[in-house]
Subunit: 199 residues, 2 copies
């Protein structure tokens, strides 16, 4: 933090560190902030810092939460016998948006990636096994991304959990709804064929 630095430049260079915000957008945002009344910039600045400060990981599922348990885990109406395993808290938000899944989550906070030195102990796999210990869970839905690391992580967890007598499922891979077959890549298309169902 250089106090001598041009304030616009200082704002822009911090904003440019955010994903999806390039040099030019960062500068545009900095000029916009400079033109706002102090209290509006304070509201943004406070929301970011205090927001980050308020966030902790749900003691049960590892989702972001303001309280000991996240909104999903503290909702008594959620089915406790199905757990959907995802990589990130933002994946929880994605599944929640479909308003369809009524079970609980488990957030791994990463996926296995030997290339990056991320092994089973670096993500929340032990915490998942601990949750499964009480025998209440009937089904574990593995919803990691359909990429190499996501698949490897799903296989790894499946191998550990199946012997516990719990049903382990993987979300379907296929052609996205509303997309054009012509533009689907070969792997997706082959997964879609493989996963075909009777009509």
């Amino acid at each position: 933090m250089n106090a001598q630095m041009d304030p616009i430049e200082r704002m822009a260079s911090e904003l440019a560190k955010l994903p999806g915000i390039g040099r030019k957008s960062a500068q545009r945002l900095a000029y916009h902030l400079a033109s706002l009344p102090m209290d509006q910039v304070r509201a943004l600045s406070d929301a970011l810092f205090q927001g980050r400060e308020a966030i902790r990981l749900c003691a049960r599922c590892g989702n972001y939460s303001a309280l000991e348990l996240c909104q999903v885990c503290s909702d008594m109406k959620r089915a406790e016998d199905v757990i959907c395993v995802v990589r990130d808290p933002r994946d929880v938000a994605a599944v929640e948006r479909m308003h369809d899944f009524r079970g609980l989550y488990h957030v791994l906070h990463g996926v296995l990636s030997p290339m990056d030195g991320i092994g089973p102990r670096d993500i929340r796999i032990q915490e998942l096994l601990d949750r499964l210990g009480d025998g209440k869970v009937r089904e574990l839905i593995l919803a990691t991304n359909p990429d190499i690391e996501g698949e490897a992580t799903a296989s790894y967890i499946a191998r550990l959990v199946k012997p516990m007598g719990i049903r382990v499922t993987r979300i379907a891979h296929g052609v996205p709804v509303g997309s054009d077959l012509e533009y689907a890549d070969e792997v997706t298309l082959s997964k879609a064929m493989e996963g075909r169902r009777e009509m």
Copy 2:
């Protein structure tokens, strides 16, 4: 500021107020911030608030500045006999980027817009006239935007300043360099024809 609000939601809703950041990008950014270490979020939060706090208007030209005089006005090598009039501080940055103009600026902080109730007293026109009073300035370059308000503002200032015996010029309108004639709108094209020069 709702302390009870979900922290991710609070961050996202403040970020979504920024221009060019929609609901979805705001949420993506909020999740990103949640995943960062506290001190990195603090650095951003501080840069925004302290940056805004440090900004004042240059006592001479009205550009954003951390000091009494902005970087341009305090640079002794700049020509003091040419002033380029622009609407916003970001226009100063745009002209500076071309590394070609060696004179000073005057930032109006707006343009005349009767529709929005913005008259001559609402923008920094009197301050401009005050600067021209000492007779040092030879040329005033009007670089407001080539839109209705920008043109009207330029005409208004030209009418006031010409009788003072100062040369008043307007930046050229025409087809942008590197663009395609086919896609130029009619008004731009007609301005380009009107402003044609001998080769």
